[in-house]
Amino acid sequence: MNFMDKWKTKLQHLPTQASIYTLFVVVTALSVYFLDKSVVAFLLLLGSLLLLYFTSFKNSVKWAVGGILLFIVIPFATSGGLAHESYMEVATQCGIYIAMALGLNIVVGFAGLLDLGFVAFFAIGAYTYAIFATPQANNFISGQLFPLSGSSFWLFILIGGFVAALFGVLLGLPVLRVKGDYLAIVTLGFGEIIRIIFNNMEKPINITNGAMGLSSIQPPNLFGLKFTFPHQFYFIVVGILVIVIFTVRRLEHSKMGRSWKAIRENEIAAQSMGIPLIRTKLTAFAVGASFSGMMGVVFAAKQTFIDPTSFTLLESITILVMVILGGMGSVPGVILGAALVTILNLQVLTELTNWLNQLTMNGTISIPNALSPSKMQRFIFGAILVCIAIFRPNGLIVAKNRKVDAEQLKAERSHTPVPVGQSTGQSGGVAK
């Protein structure tokens, strides 16, 4: 026991922490670099970001170190081996899902509105870019102006976010009058309707090319540099993700974030505090949707081909699972949840399947057909979810409230008289 305590205090010592942490990063980074394909080393390297969260460095230090890891160490370390692009693909997918999960977390986690059709906004973003970055738009806009060149991609990130936000509001206006389970059902319907519309909008005017999907989407182009490889998209995604995280953190502890949570906790009381219900919910929908829309644009450009099958209900559910698993309303939790689910699906479980297949082929083991590894994959995934739900019912990293230092408040406060006077008729900046 004494021994453990000793270690604990030692670990709280900042320089010790810093050296252990650096050592960890260096070792994992080097192994990723020198080993040809080592999933474990790669995962540990990504894990260093999680570890960073739990260190006791100052916030600014954490951000700086996180930046160095994301923009320099990880891209460089993975560039060593054959698996470079596949690592980068996984990391890029993680980033896309993290941004979407953070968007859904605003709606579900902060504002408490259960949305089962969230992938619709991702689809809207993807199609917004795909339609104009292929000859498709020539079908309804004359002049053979399309496809737009890849340099329009950067503008389209914003447009995609904006269009998705707009649809968030359009969906919200009729839908937000219903609550709870009903809201879930209506949003589920919305998600399916959007997908079916995209699936059928090839007549009378061919807008989406229906079930055939849109192919040869222009890759992004920055001053002549074409983005086609995952390791290039990685930087775009991480860039957007940094902005998204920054936005979420600012909103969370603001008037807006408090209004969202107030509505989640008690609608009637929130109203009685002067919070306009519909408008506040609509902003949650719009902001959440915009993150998804932006990533939709990136997704379309990265895949260069999209069709409605990428935007099914299962995707909506997966994003919701990320939020719930990570911890509703908890930003670090949701990031972890999204990363974990993506990595599990894309890397760990596929690796496992490959490995089992290999063994079967070599005749080392024989697995009955009913339990074929690819079927096992979903089973294991489900089992892991159930375990997390049982052992961490509030999520991997539970949402925490921000604490305020009372002493500092008292010391700094201005010496104005008690401010709780009567309102003077006009005051109250009547919520416009």
Binding site: T247, R250, L251, S254, K255, M256, R258, S259, K261, A262, E265, N266, I268, A269, A270, Q271, S272, M273, G274, I275, P276, L277, T283, V287, A399, N401, R402, K403, V404, A406, L409, K410, E412, R413, S414, V418, P419, V420, G421, Q422, S423, G425, S427, G428, G429, V430, A431
Partner: protein
């Protein structure tokens, strides 16, 4: 002088008339009480005034201006704040955050101000924290500022609801059974607090309460409801001896004997 006036106010739920043609003028700067047996329609009366329910008939005027059909959140910015009989705090938020939510209508920072966090936005956030803290001091909860609201004791939760309502800087404060669930000590403190709110902050107070000791000690004026109708109004002395009131509370036989204690 009247600050809040209701005239021929009616609210029905299906076949039940919960508020039935109530007329009353609440005097400015005073403490008025609304009393009546369980199910008399007191809470419904508050819900209609604050816009949670639309009245079926009648008029409600704040400072001479009608607030019928005004949305609840706008009624708050007109200057009416309230607490709830069945406590409605933002349970998983901190005590300080609860009060800061009450300041909503007085904060001007919008979406972009939040993202850019200009000096003016930062200053506003700081000021709202300070003001919220001051209000917590005012109701005696400052030491609990970082606690989660639903971890507080019953009495503390009721006081937090008052602090949160004060944060909207109301002209009229409606308290729905503020002493319910409090022990006698807490009730005494509460009486002091309500008196201070009236005197120092010059806020008109309307309270619903079953604790007659509190009602008689605090109120300048009492409105008595029974089955949705007004059966009496007057100063505490008059109400205490009013036979119709005694009958409503204790039944006919008690009415012949005398006084509510």
């Amino acid at each position: 002088m009247t600050i809040l006036k209701v005239a021929k106010l009616v609210k029905r739920f299906g076949g039940l008339t919960a508020v039935d043609g109530v007329d009353f003028a609440f005097p400015k700067g005073k403490i008025s009480a609304v009393i009546g047996p369980n199910g008399a329609g007191k809470t419904t009366f508050f819900n209609v005034i604050t816009g949670i329910y639309k009245p079926d008939e009648g008029e409600i005027e704040l400072d001479g201006k009608s607030i019928v059909n005004v949305k609840p959140h706008l009624i708050t910015s007109r200057g009416i704040a309230r607490t709830f009989q069945n406590i409605r705090l933002f349970g998983s938020m901190t005590v300080l955050e609860n009060v800061m939510v009450g300041m909503h209508i007085h904060l001007k920072t919008g979406l972009f101000g939040t993202l850019l966090r200009l000096p003016r936005n930062r200053a506003e956030e700081k000021r709202s924290q300070e003001e919220a803290y001051r209000l917590l001091e005012y109701v005696g909860l400052e030491s609990l500022l970082n606690e989660q609201a639903n971890s507080l004791s019953y009495g503390a939760q009721r006081r937090l609801e008052i602090a949160r309502a004060l944060a909207t800087r109301p002209k009229v404060l409606l308290l729905d059974e503020p002493a319910a669930g409090m022990n006698p000590r807490e009730t005494v403190d509460l009486i002091g607090l309500i008196k201070r709110i009236r005197q120092e902050l010059e806020i008109t107070i309307i309270l619903i309460e079953h604790d007659m000791r509190l009602v008689m000690e605090l109120s300048d004026h009492i409105l008595v409801l029974d089955y949705g109708t007004k059966i009496a109004e007057g100063i505490p002395e008059e109400i205490r001896t009013n036979p119709r009131v005694i009958e409503a509370y204790l039944g006919k036989s008690a009415a012949q004997q005398g006084v509510i204690s």
